[in-house]
């Protein structure tokens, strides 16, 4: 089972729904949330400073693109340059966005860490697919 998931979205209703959905689908053990890229960076930094057994580094990140303070793109830039190598679980980012701009899809493909592009809302189907991928990765 997936241990830690990090949800990054500026909309707290979205965060709430996602949390419930993950819980209902029994997708992971812990769900952490951040309201923008900066908070997410802060979260990752905080976790890395903790002793290993206390760390809750995410196995999977759901990232929204359009956010105030720091958007998803900037977060991905920072993530790729600073955190990727430090993540023992090789956490992948799944973009979870309500964007309709086809350019966003193209642009997201340029990031190594991005695995998928999920249109909101997050559904049971999305989660079972992801679960399948994660399980096969582990075995």
């Amino acid at each position: 089972m997936i241990k830690n998931v990090l949800l990054i979205d500026d909309d707290d209703v979205t965060l709430m729904i996602c949390r419930l959905r993950l819980k209902k689908s029994n997708f992971c053990e812990n769900v952490f949330t951040a309201l923008n890229g900066e908070e997410a960076v802060q979260f990752l930094e905080d976790q890395l400073l903790l002793p290993l057994d206390k760390q809750h580094l995410p196995d999977l990140i759901f990232l929204d693109l359009n956010m105030p303070v720091m958007d998803g793109w900037t977060f991905m830039d920072i993530y790729e340059s600073r955190f990727k190598i430090l993540m023992p679980t090789h956490a992948k980012i799944d973009i979870l966005s309500s964007t309709v701009d086809p350019m966003d899809h193209e642009r997201a493909k340029l990031y190594d860490s991005v695995r998928g592009f999920i249109s909101k809302p997050l559904t049971e189907i999305n989660l079972s697919e992801l679960k399948g991928i994660e399980t096969s990765k582990k075995t």
Binding site: V13, I17, C18, R21, N66, S98, V100, E124
Partner: protein, 740 residues
């Protein structure tokens, strides 16, 4: 009969009287007696024979009545002498005949001793007189001729012929006077070098030899020699014997000189004519009687061939009447030296333009037309081309300007004047600089001169100003002009006024800039709004997904939640369609690639999975004939999805839905058909609205009226066409055709 010997004898003989009367009666002479009053008292019958008057008529009038008026005075004078002198007088006068003519008579008259009666004897002198008159005429003719005439004859047959007569031309020719010549031998004019053989041979024949011509070297009185052409004719006497010769002499030296000159000039003319670069011809009314080689060569004939043909064979039928009238005018004496252009025909029948100069001459003593021809076909062709070109230049809307190599204007066409306001007269000699404005950069002119300097054309745009200062834009093509030797003569500029175009382009550019800005903004706006709409809608969807209604007991709340659910789904669907429409507009970002219909159908079904399960749809897809094609994947996916969704939406309730999808490839055309057994439509009502935005044809709840619009947009974006067949309650078939 014994002839009377004297008057006295007559008196004494009555026989004699009878004999005298007989003589009086039958004498061929005219015998008469005239009394002192001047009346004939007796006339013999010869009067009536010669003059026609009867003796009664003759005696009824005084004799003077019958005398010619011009002779009256002389006759009266003779009569007076006769009466006073009493001698025999001889004279001639003319007497009136009964037929009104006058007759010459030659009289012998004497008066009787009584002084009362005149005895007159007249001979018929008419013939003699006529002969003498002719002789006089001949003599004066001989005198007036330029040839030296000499008559020679034998006075005695033993001696050489001597000169009997010379005319004044002969005197002049030889320098002797008549007195010095007459009676001298005919060899007087000969000298040591004169060959007399032929002359003597001729004279020796002494018979009915015909006239002869020969040439003799003659000597003048002063010893000067000259060649004479001598014509010798024998003169025969009444017995047919040749006694005299008449010879005419003419100095051939001058003649020879003239002939020589003539020959020389003819030679000159001939060589001039033959070697001339112009064609020379002589026309004798209907034919060419002389042409030179150039003339013949110009028409592809030999001169001999030309002489065989008629005049009309050489001219264009339209021009021949003119030629004929010119020739006839000249031959009838009109003197013109004009020239005219005419079309002549060559041996092969092609047309050559000739410029003809004609004038009149004599040919074999007949009036003829002599002329020169110059082949001006090339010039004509060039003239024609030039005329056409200048017409084009005058009528074209492009303004044309020609300058010399220093840039001085030599010509401008009317369009130039119309555009710039400068007339031809104003423009000539000016430099095109008069049109220059600051708006045309110096680099443009540099570039232009660089190209022209390398003998290349230059094309570019100038901003120029008119005479009134108004600015205009023109597109110019400037080219150097060369002559046939490759020497650059001029520059020609052909300019097009593009002011309007430039203005329009500027406006268009501004408009496009404006439009693309607003379009960009609009796009951004639509993305943002759809995103902003979408975020809460997705939240609502998430909530619905998570809502567990099993715990709610209140039926009203359940109904409300159910309504909330349905509205949310519909809102989402509308939003999805709108987003798709917006995305669709940006199809530049989509790429064509090979896609498999099988895959597309799979994806579409996956997206629609729920619906298909619900409606228990039976789907039959056959892609054997065309497994796929070059398309935009997302578009094709959307098309499949929309058709299937439509079929499901508009299925006949409580009846199994059947969807058939087929593909086939014929040549380059790929056909894709979607067929269902649904509600169908009345196409005659729907018509072209079918594929419009927000067009609804069913009261069906799920209908939003956007699906077919998207389909059509996708099909068009992939350069395909779509058509539809439908029947109410039977079903609908959509057919799409794409070029592959």
């Amino acid at each position: 009969m014994k002839n009377p010997s004297s008057i006295n004898d007559i008196k004494t003989s009555s026989l004699l009287t009878e004999q005298l009367l007989y003589w009086f009666e039958f004498s061929s002479d005219l015998l008469t007696l005239i009394d002192e009053k001047g009346y004939f008292t007796l006339v013999n019958p010869s009067f009536e024979r010669v003059l026609g008057w009867t003796p009664e008529e003759m005696t009824s009038k005084p004799y003077i009545y019958f005398v010619h008026p011009d002779d009256i005075e002389a006759t009266l004078h003779v009569n007076k002498n006769l009466i006073e002198g009493g001698n025999v007088v001889k004279f001639e006068n003319r007497y009136l005949r009964k037929d009104g003519q006058y007759h010459w008579l030659k009289w012998d008259a004497f008066i009787m001793p009584d002084k009362n009666t005149s005895v007159c004897v007249a001979k018929d002198y008419q013939k003699t007189r006529e002969t003498l008159e002719k002789l006089d005429m001949l003599k004066s003719a001989i005198e007036s001729t330029f040839e030296g005439i000499v008559i020679t004859g034998h006075i005695s047959y033993d001696e050489a012929p001597e000169i009997l007569f010379v005319n004044s031309a002969f005197e002049k020719l030889f320098g002797y006077t008549q007195e010095e010549l007459l009676g001298k031998p005919h060899t007087l004019f000969s000298g040591p070098e004169t060959d007399l053989t032929e002359l003597n041979k001729f004279l020796a024949k002494n018979n009915k030899t015909n006239a002869k011509q020969l040439e003799l070297l003659c000597y003048k009185k002063n010893g000067e020699k000259f060649w004479a052409r001598v014509s010798l004719s024998p003169i025969f006497d009444s017995h047919g014997k040749c006694a005299n010769w008449v010879s005419s002499y003419s100095d051939r030296t001058k003649e020879n000189k003239q002939i020589k000159l003539l020959e020389e000039s003819e030679q000159k003319f001939r060589s001039l004519a033959q070697d001339s670069i112009v064609g020379i011809h002589i026309i004798n009314r209907e034919k060419y009687v002389y042409v030179n080689n150039v003339f013949a060569r110009n028409l592809g004939y030999t001169p001999e061939e030309i002489y065989q043909l008629q005049l009309k064979d050489f001219f264009h039928p339209d021009d021949f009447p003119l030629v004929l009238s010119k020739v006839e005018n000249r031959l009838s004496g009109e003197i013109t030296n004009e020239h005219y252009d005419i079309r002549m025909l060559t041996k092969s029948g092609s047309i050559r333009w000739m410029e003809i100069f004609g004038s009149t001459t004599l040919y074999n003593d007949n009036p003829a037309v002599i002329g020169t021809t110059i082949d001006i076909t090339l010039k004509k062709e060039k003239d024609n081309q030039l005329r056409k070109l200048s017409r084009i230049i005058d009528q074209t809307e492009s303004s044309i300007l020609i300058t010399d190599l220093n840039g001085r204007i030599e010509y401008v066409n009317p369009a130039f004047t119309q555009l710039t306001g400068y007339t031809l007269a104003e423009a000539i000699g000016q430099n095109p600089r008069i049109l220059k404005t600051e708006k045309t950069g110096a680099s443009i002119h540099q570039e232009m001169w660089k190209e022209l300097g390398q003998n290349r054309s230059w094309k570019g745009v100038f901003c120029n100003k008119k005479k009134n200062g108004e600015e205009f834009w023109e597109q110019a093509v400037i080219s150097p002009v060369f002559n046939e030797n490759g020497i650059k003569l001029n520059y020609v500029a052909i300019n097009k006024d593009i002011t309007q175009r430039v203005k329009l382009e500027r406006e268009k550019e501004l408009l496009i800039e404006e439009l693309s800005t607003s379009l960009e903004e609009l796009k951004k706006f639509s993305y943002i709004t759809s995103h902003n709409f979408r975020a809460p809608v997705t939240n609502l969807l998430g909530i619905i997904d998570l809502l567990d209604t099993s715990l709610i007991a209140d039926p009203t709340t359940l109904t409300l939640i159910e309504g909330f659910k349905r509205s949310t789904l519909k809102l989402n669907e509308t939003l999805e369609d709108l987003i798709e429409t917006v995305v669709l507009r940006d199809h530049n970002k989509h790429i064509f690639e090979w896609i498999s219909f099988e895959n597309i159908l799979e994806k579409a079904c996956l997206n629609l999975n729920l619906s298909i399960q619900n409606s228990k749809t039976q789907m039959e897809a056959n892609f054997e004939h065309a497994r796929g094609g070059i398309f935009i994947g997302s578009f094709m996916e959307s098309i499949f999805q929309n058709f299937i969704a439509n079929s499901i939406k508009f299925a006949i309730p409580n009846q199994p839905l059947y969807i058939k999808i087929n593909s086939k490839l014929e040549g380059e055309t790929l056909t894709l058909t979607f067929e269902d057994n649904g509600l169908g439509m009345n196409l005659s009502k729907v018509k072209d609205k079918l594929f419009g935005l927000y067009q609804k044809f069913h009261k069906n709840d799920d209908s939003k009226g956007i699906g077919l619009y998207i389909v059509k947009s996708h099909v068009n974006a992939m350069r395909g066409v779509i058509s539809v067949k439908s029947e109410i309650n039977k079903g609908t078939t959509f057919t799409m055709k794409f070029k592959q």
